[in-house]
Symmetry: C2
Subunit: 214 residues, 2 copies
């Protein structure tokens, strides 16, 4: 099984590494990180680089293509969109995490499809003809989209169960001890305090200070 994960400048590391941690544990899976150029790619907060082991041109066809989100997702036509269309034509599953779904949409791949995204960007899916769907993981045919950042872990486990067997996904889930205990009920706009939701909506592009911090 070949799994290609796209890297690009200012992407969100956990969007890629969550699903990677799940899918790379499948024996025989070959996970390849692919960038416009091979080499280090800086992630969104500026403190971590992930290494692309192949350029777009050198990446082999993949069974699973995964597109992470980021602070400045590539939404204008260019080599990444061309690569995505070709990768999608050969894939069994085309997947995204967070605003990675906007990239899939901008590449023309989500027309008329149900899809999700980071909650703060969900309304932008309609710009690309996709049907915004407020769920954590959305399957529509071969297209699988996950909500914001951490949702990639849930997406990858769900996908793994479909691709192989529920027992395999359970073994990976136990292997990464994914028995989450979030310290607050604040992980979605439906459960977080209204003032926290309002704060993030008002500061969606540049959060320079977190609530409660002096």
């Amino acid at each position: 099984m070949q799994i290609n994960i796209l890297l690009y400048d200012r992407m969100t590391a956990l969007d890629a590494v969550g699903p990677y941690e799940v899918l790379s544990r499948v024996p025989g899976a070959d996970v390849l990180f692919v960038g416009e150029r091979a080499g280090p790619v800086r992630t969104d907060t500026g403190h971590l680089s992930l290494v692309a082991d192949a350029s777009l041109a050198d990446a082999p066809a993949a069974d699973v293509v995964l597109v992470p989100g980021g602070y400045a997702p590539p939404l204008t036509p260019g080599p990444i969109h061309e690569w995505l269309r070709a990768a999608d034509a050969a894939s069994t599953w085309t997947t995204s995490v967070c605003v990675g779904s906007l990239i899939l949409g901008a590449a023309g791949l989500l027309e008329g499809r149900r899809a999700t995204s980071h909650w703060i960007a969900l309304d932008r899916l309609a710009d690309y003809g996709a049907l915004a769907t407020e769920e954590r993981v959305v399957f529509d045919g071969k297209y699988v989209t996950a909500a914001g950042v951490s949702a990639g872990i849930d997406m990858a486990l769900t996908l793994l169960a479909r691709m192989t067997a529920p027992e395999a996904a359970m073994a990976v889930q136990l292997g990464i001890e994914y028995d989450p205990r979030p310290p607050f009920e604040a992980g979605s706009p439906a459960t977080a305090p209204a003032e926290i939701v309002a704060y993030l909506r008002a500061n969606r592009d540049t959060i320079v200070k977190l609530p409660g911090m002096s």
Copy 2:
């Protein structure tokens, strides 16, 4: 706030990237990935390199030191242990994810302390005089240890709330949409099917095939 995250060969990517994704969202936080040498470090499944931006010798003192787990954690005396003892002497919080706690223990930092680890390695904490504690996140003074792999996200959010304010941690939790929906009740040995637990115990070092896969 200076946060240093240790990288070493065959470490587990999500152990580092989960907490990084939380802590790097704190405005003003400087997160530095530190390796024995600066440069790419290969993670455990062999498909991803994270980049160490500083060597042990070049890393500044940090408020938070974080030690991830891995397939071959450095448990014998050497430069990493020496660095950890010096880093711990200067830190406000010394933390670990997964079998990172065994590294802290091997460096002599958990003597008589309550600590946790990956469920499959919990019994090994006693080798280092630590008191194995079956909880997802364990605080003992300035020492904070998390259970396996994905538990680093819960640890980092809990730590962030203590370091700043609960509202700040809630904002980050909402920012990474951490509203987990694991597809199975399989994330801990207490909830996973007994045969899955037995399978992982029997294959703890080399999993060449997952249950349910042909």
